[in-house]
């Protein structure tokens, strides 16, 4: 044996070339363009995934679910490519040190933007009728929502220490007031009350999670169905997409196909689903729009009534939703039928009655169609929840005209709405939030952080403030003798209690992207909550402590810091799962942690991967989410790996393993395309070891490997030729669906196998006409 060969890594032939450190952070796929500015690579990868989610429209036959997936999933992809360069801008001024690679930044943006202030819409009958004429049956909020998700203009925000930053991707989420009311149903009558309290105590979330301990929340399965639908849609066009996924010549020099483009969609849906819960106020309204139209005989009176319905007295909103949010009054003027002078007069009257937070919105009533001149397309909602999107897909399935999905309004209307939003957000909502933050910070937080704060258990009793003191003490007195403000029967802190207020402070700061303040606030709260055994609050607070500490721009990343985060996440997970059995909250918590950790670069990439592993262990993920998470873990390890260069700290083998696991999951999900991508990547990683024969070096690994290969019809394992299989993939599909699935289900968990033949929808939908999905997707196989 020759001396040098005695120790593989030592052999001179493999001596690594010196590289700039950040270069090694990049995935090999990007390393060639190491010199390219971040945002370029970023957009590039984004447009890449965009391309791969949807093949070009012309490549599709009309009238396929694929088409709907096309129109649907374009929004995320478009926004992705935009947020790509945006992010790089805002990243510069928020956290210069964060390394940008393989779409991390994009995911960070998705996360940040998903926590947008909610604005409830209370519209009078006539208003909704007016909007209905324009083709927005859902009511006023459906008209405003697409525009609210991203303002076209930069928003300036002052943080608690007086510094101000501009954000280009700020937005608000419009919700129908009925969503608030739906959440509050039964809040009044005692019958359901304690039942709900119980529900709350074991952490179930209204409309978000089933109280029974079903492994997957309703929402979760909805996401699963939606993703599954996308995958089916992809299958149909696998032929022309094969090229996009894997670059053939690249494989030699170690370039790799990217992670599934499905992942950003998954992440977005995961975050869109969050709904009204007591223990975090992100989905509580920050403001509400109270709107009447010029059609109304007695507008002022109508506004008063609507205003009344925004309070508590009318049982309209749940008891745990604070009512101290901003009221914003809008008068909608019918450009076509009404006299503007009357409306302006009315508007002045409004201002006198309701103050400055008023706006006159001038709209045309007639419906606009594409063919009209000065027609403009209504942007698609980026933040539809999975259910909403599925609903949309179904409804679109009735009427098979594609155009139906695209809405148009007049240019003038669009600009009027934009103007309204710009004014409302930058002149009312943001300033309102800023002032709340300042007030609460002075009145509650700083007090609690003061001397007395050190002796929590004692101090908290006296911590009530201002007018709420009575209410707070009264409530706590009523609810329990322990002197805590936590209402054990109902399982929540009344909004005016210091704890609730501080949580709101944290959330406001978060939504205003003042991570530092948010962090310190949550960090302070979690001790209170654990003292009160308010576990859902406790869990949520811990989650946010971790998230914010990862969002705070870091000049350096210390291993120590990440270990601290380890503990916090563990605590959050324990409270969510063991104390409250709220699995899907853990999914969000960990998924965010994974993305943000990964975003921190190589040191944290290991941790990210580890949390991914834990998340999978918990068994709380949907099948597809499981596969995607496995891919994500592989991606984390890839970010520490330079192919063909034995570097200390490389994670080549880990990456290979997780690619294999992902491939296996995809096979079980009966999705050979994704499976092949993972398999090929694993193959590249394993080949690195010994070029002569493909696959892992352990003979005992070959069995599983070979079976996977066979099930994927990858016969010739080494060299790019193996990819030839992709070309005629469509032909193989039914083979690998029927033949190999139960063959492979040797590996599948009990019940896992039935997961694998999920079609577009679950059985209970089967009766409905819209179950046409499954038929269609079958049609492609």
């Amino acid at each position: 044996m020759t001396p040098s060969s005695a120790y593989g890594h030592g052999s001179p032939s493999e001596t690594p070339q010196p590289q700039p450190p950040e270069h090694t952070l990049r995935s090999p796929r990007e390393s060639p363009s190491a010199s390219v500015p971040d945002f370029v690579t970023n957009t590039r990868s984004s447009s890449f995934s965009a391309k791969s989610v949807l093949s070009s429209p012309e490549s599709r036959l009309p009238l396929t679910p694929a088409k709907s997936s096309l129109s649907k999933s374009r929004s995320p992809s478009d926004s992705r490519s935009q947020s790509g360069d945006r992010s790089s801008v805002s990243i510069r001024d928020t956290s210069p040190s964060v390394p940008v690679n393989d779409g991390n930044e994009e995911h960070r943006q998705i996360i940040i933007r998903s926590f947008a202030p909610r604005v409830a819409v209370y519209a009078s009958e006539d208003t909704n009728k007016l909007v209905g004429q324009k083709g927005f049956a859902g009511g006023l909020h459906t008209l405003l929502r697409p525009y609210g998700e991203r303002l076209q203009s930069r928003v300036i925000i002052r943080d608690s220490v007086g510094g101000s930053k501009g954000f280009d991707d700020f937005g608000v989420r419009f919700i129908d007031c009925h969503e608030l009311q739906r959440a509050s149903i039964g809040d009044s009558d005692g019958a359901n009350a304690d039942q709900e309290a119980r529900v709350l105590l074991n952490g179930a979330q209204y409309g978000y999670e089933k109280p029974n301990n079903a492994r997957l929340s309703e929402n979760g399965t909805a996401i699963d169905q939606l993703l599954n639908h996308y995958l089916r849609a992809e299958d149909s066009t696998s032929i022309d997409r094969g090229g996009n996924y894997v670059d053939h010549d690249g494989r030699s020099n170690g370039a790799r196909s990217t992670y599934s483009p499905l992942y950003p969609i998954y992440l977005r849906k995961l975050l869109s689903g969050s709904s009204l819960v007591p223990y975090e106020t992100f989905s509580h309204p920050v403001a509400c729009i109270i709107a009447v139209s010029s059609h109304h005989p007695a507008p002022i009176e109508a506004l008063r009534q609507l205003y009344a319905s925004t309070g508590h007295g009318s049982n309209k909103t749940p008891a745990w939703v604070g009512t101290e949010y901003l009221r914003y009054y809008v008068l909608i003027h019918d450009e076509e039928n009404d006299d503007i002078t009357k409306s302006t007069a009315l508007f002045d009257l409004m201002k006198r009655h309701f103050g400055l937070h008023c706006h006159l919105l001038r709209l045309r009533t007639s419906q606009c169609v594409q063919t009209d001149d000065d027609s403009t397309k209504v942007p698609v909602c980026e933040w539809l929840s999975a259910e909403e999107e599925i609903g949309l897909l179904r409804s679109r399935d009735y009427t098979n005209e594609f155009e139906n999905s695209e809405r148009y309004i007049f240019e003038s209307d669009a600009s009027a709405i934009k103007a309204l939003l710009r004014e409302m957000i930058s002149q009312s909502i943001v300033p309102f939030m800023e002032s709340r933050v300042i007030t609460w910070n002075d009145q509650v937080a700083s007090r609690r952080r003061g001397i007395s704060g050190r002796f929590m258990s004692l101090s908290k009793r006296w911590a009530g403030f201002g007018s709420n003191k009575g209410a707070a003490s009264g409530l706590s007195g009523a609810s329990n003798a322990s002197g805590s403000n936590y209402d054990y029967q109902m399982g929540f802190y009344p909004p005016e209690t210091p704890e609730a207020t501080m949580r709101q402070l944290g959330d406001y700061a978060f939504m205003l992207r003042d991570w530092k303040l948010a962090h310190s606030t949550y960090d302070f709260l979690r001790t209170d909550f654990s003292h009160d055994k308010a576990w859902s609050y406790h869990a949520a607070a811990n989650e946010m402590v971790a998230i914010t500490s990862l969002l705070v721009p870091q000049t350096y990343n210390s291993k120590h810091k990440f270990e601290a985060i380890d503990q916090i996440l563990d605590t959050a997970a324990y409270s969510y799962l063991t104390r409250c059995s709220m699995p899907s909250s853990v999914v969000r918590c960990f998924t965010l942690a994974i993305e943000l950790l990964k975003n921190r670069g190589t040191i944290a990439a290991d941790d990210a991967a580890r949390w991914g592993g834990k998340l999978l262990e918990y068994g709380v993920l949907d099948p597809i989410a499981q596969a995607l998470t496995s891919e994500r873990i592989a991606e984390c390890y890839m970010s520490r790996t330079v192919l063909n260069v034995p570097t200390v700290g490389s994670r080549r083998r880990q990456a290979a393993l997780w690619n294999i696991l992902a491939a296996d999951s995809w096979v079980k999900l009966d999705n050979p395309i994704q499976a092949r991508l993972r398999f090929e990547e694993a193959n590249v990683l394993y080949q690195h070891e010994h070029q002569q024969n493909a696959g892992p070096s352990f003979p005992s690994m070959q069995a599983f490997w070979g079976d996977l290969a066979r099930s994927l019809r990858i016969v010739d394992l080494d060299g790019p030729q193996s990819l030839v299989g992709y070309g005629d993939f469509g032909g193989h599909l039914e083979f690998s669906t029927l033949g190999e699935t139960e063959h492979l289900s040797a590996f599948t968990r009990p019940g896992g196998s039935d997961k694998s033949d999920i079609e577009g929808f679950t059985p209970q939908d089967a009766g409905r006409p819209n179950s046409g999905f499954s038929d269609r997707s079958d049609g492609f196989e």
Binding site: A6, G8, D570, T578, G613, R653, L661
Partner: protein, 191 residues
Amino acid sequence: MSYYFCIVGTRDQPLFELEFGTSKQGGDGIARFSQEARHMNPFIVHSSLDFVDEMQWTNNQMYLKRVDQFASSHISTFLTPTSTRFMLLHLPHPPNTAPQSTASPNSFPPFTPYTSTPASTTTGSRSSSSSSTSIPNNPTSPQTEEAIRAFFGEVFEVWIKAIMSPFGSVEGKLGSPVFRQRVVAAGKKYL
């Protein structure tokens, strides 16, 4: 506990593989890996080599203790001076399964339900997965750590004897039946 023991050469080639089970506390020394686990074990061990490669330079001991965890499988490593890696994957039988049952721990997927690994607040890289301190049950207890150290120590001695032979090599397969006997014996004795 079920064990998968593998000696890996510096080129990631396996030189010796053995499955066995707990002999302590009335164990019958038989490994009870599910079919899936048996397939995954080499993959898991192989992937743990990443961590071993890294620790090789940060930790100059031969016994690196637990280097990795995958689901409820734990991987302990002994690194010989010649960078030959002794990899021991140990998988506790879930509390509910009696030694005789043919339940499949570590079948993948699914990952073991989280109830079997309560989220603990260990900041270490991997979290404990059982409260019992007995070697057969708890992969993370100090007792287990010491038992494995002893096992590795004995294997190390036998391994040296094997490679001292002019016809043995640190990179070559360890085919001698006597060697196998001795490793088996060491497993019986300590695990």
